[in-house]
Amino acid sequence: MMSAALPAEPVEGLPDSLPDSLPDAAALHTASQWQLMRIKFRKHRLAVWSGWVILALYGVATFCEIVAPYSLDQDHLAYMHAPPQRLRWMGPDGVHLWPFVYGLEGVRHPETLRTIYADDHSRTYPLQLFVRGEPYEFWGLIETDIHLFGVAEGGTLFLLGTDAVGRDMLTRIIYGSRISLTVGLIGVALSFTFGLLIGAVSGYYGGWVDNMIQRLIEVLRSFPSIPLWMALSASLPADWSPLKVYFGITVVLSFLGWTGLARVVRGKILSLREEDYATAALLAGASQGRVMVRHLLPGFASHIIVSLTLTLPNMILGETALSFLGLGLRPPITSWGVLLKEAQNVQAVALQPWLLTPALFVIIAVLAFNFVGDGLRDAADPYSR
């Protein structure tokens, strides 16, 4: 908004040349709102790093068939509940330059009859990149059997252990990330649409419409979310296909999610439409719709982005919680919550603690989103401090 009115100065690419400690005052004054945000965001180291973590997670989710060392339902009945295998650099013959794993050997415990796994030091399998393994269809388009990493035939690579039927946990977590991370995205997209529409209507028309919508939001917010979500997802018919359940859950999660966004949008519109430039645009003959989209929307777009970034982790947590309770996604869909449901049993967790590893990924994803949201929130207000 500012830069448009000021005499043209080469602002393009300036943020890169700006010294971090002492930004050139003139350049700062002519920088657009988004450029200011970018400058400010980059200073928030943790947020930038978290941004990379999120990108990496979504990268893995996108290419999960390739990244995962096995395919989703590939079970290894000889290796049930195998503990995580360690990548090793030190072998019997000295230090290796490339990591390898030992062969896995299961021995039945004479008393408890549980299978105890031990490393077979006579067999070593070096970690290989782009190794041939189980064939799969990438995105249902390309048929191939190349996995990003793995070990040669005969060896096993269970970096995070296996589950009750010998499926590789890492593979399942990688596939689960596709579901868990996109549930949030779609849920946020839905919340975004509803929140933006309802918030805009509420803020723009004001009066009794505004009053009604605000009361409704208040009511929805006073519901404790988990019981509400539980009731909603319990109402999804049991005979629905996995895909339908998946979309049902996203709708359930956005049932409460839109309220926060609608509030932000309404508040911003209420304050912005009183601004002189909005009146000026109206007087200059711009239509209501144009004023809204062209003049008001850029004013609070950054706040919407912040709000969205902070809603996403809640959705991920919501999905995890619901699936954990058995009310959300169900196998054969694999999500982090579904995986954690298998770790519900304390005895199982005590004996096979690696079943809890999906939790680590949930925490990392949620933390990263929170940090990015935090950084964006600071950055969205470039004139502060």
């Binding site: 208040e218 404790p224 009731a231 954690l340 304390v346």
Partner: protein, 361 residues
């Protein structure tokens, strides 16, 4: 100020009314009802159910009536003022012994939460103690959250960017990101693998079904710290950040400097002025902390097997035990609304600015 409180209290009624509609609609959503699934289950085991029996049950629970009628009856039963349900299930009229019927006037009565299909017992009886325990845990969690968050928040603000501040920030963020039920699992895991005991439950075996006594209460307190910590972590993390942010806004203000210049000791000054101002927004956050605590308690209770409403609600939802589930969702929301109301009134008492603003209106 009284007018403001009164207005706030009056607003509660439409809110609760909408909540009741949503609660009832929610539990009506699933296709079929408890009886259809119950009958299918019975027939699968080879038992036959007579049609008459089914019809009687359907009538008893108003299952074949339209939504609005079912809802109205449920709401009427729920309220402390309304029509008393007659023996034959009629509401508007009362049958007399001589066969005459007269109008049934609405009057004060005991609220009736309906009957649970599965347990075949009044809902009120089923959830009474569980609700009490849920509330106890929620209140203790709230107190725990505050007791931890306020001092840490003050410390983090006063010693901004110190090691302690960073440590608490990181811990707080991790607490925020860890789902409650996961923490519960971890606690159970530690309890099981280190101490060899399960961390679940709220009572020792000896007091499990004992009547209430001082000893049982102490036993409860001894067991409650795990769920309280587990449920409280995420809320604590959020509150520390709010407290720290608020105090950081207050500290550079001129009145602080003036008081310092006049020789007020730092600790006294800090506690007397900026902390008090910074506490206000904290009180107003009860409104959103409370729903979080209640939902947290529901899911944590399922994991830890606590005798609160959580596991019962999960079961009721799974079995389409609609009156039980609906009443529980309704009561949980009701308690949250009451909690929010209390926090609003507290805020009015605490913050003169809001009082004056309302007076000038």
């Amino acid at each position: 100020m009284l007018a403001l409180i009164l207005r706030r209290v009056l607003w509660m009624f439409p809110t609760l009314w909408i909540i009741s509609i949503i609660s009832f609609a929610l539990i009506q959503l699933p296709p079929g009802d408890y009886l259809t699934s119950y009958i299918t289950a019975l027939e699968e085991t080879g038992e036959t159910v007579s049609l008459e029996q089914v019809a009687a049950l359907r009538k008893r629970y108003n299952l074949d009536e339209p939504f609005v009628l079912q809802y109205s009856k449920w709401l009427n039963d729920l309220l402390p003022f309304g029509f008393r349900r007659a023996e034959d299930g009629a509401y508007l009229t009362v049958a007399h012994e001589d066969g005459r019927r007269s109008i049934n006037w609405p009057w004060f009565k005991w609220p009736d939460l309906g009957t649970s299909f599965e347990w075949n017992r009044p809902v009120g009886e089923l959830i009474g103690e569980r609700l009490l325990l849920t509330m106890t845990i929620s209140i203790f969690t709230l107190l725990f959250t505050w007791a931890l968050a306020i001092p840490i928040g003050i410390y983090s603000a006063v010693r901004q960017y110190s090691w302690g501040d960073y440590t608490f920030s990181v811990l707080g963020f991790i607490g925020l990101a860890t789902p409650n039920f996961l923490l519960a699992l971890v606690f159970m895991y530690i309890g099981y693998s280190v101490f060899g005991v399960s961390a679940g439950g709220l009572f020792s075996a000896a007091y499990e079904n004992a009547p209430w006594s001082m000893d049982r209460f102490w036993d409860l307190l001894a067991h409650m710290w795990i769920p309280v910590i587990v449920i409280g972590t995420s809320g604590t993390a959020g509150l520390i950040r709010v407290m720290r942010g608020n105090l950081l806004d207050e500290l550079p203000k001129q009145y602080v400097m003036t008081a310092r210049a006049k020789g007020v000791s730092p600790v006294k000054l800090l506690l007397k002025y900026p902390v008090r101002v910074a506490l206000n927004p904290l009180v107003s956050t009860i409104g959103w902390v409370l729903p979080g605590i209640v939902s947290g308690s529901v899911i944590v209770s399922v994991v830890l097997g606590l005798p609160t409403v959580g596991p019962l609600l999960l079961r009721a939802l799974e079995n389409q035990d609609m009156y039980l589930a609906g009443s529980m969702v309704m009561i949980l929301s009701f308690l949250t609304v009451i909690g929010t109301l209390i926090s609003d009134i507290l805020l009015l008492l605490l913050d003169p600015r809001i009082r004056y603003e309302s007076r000038s209106r």
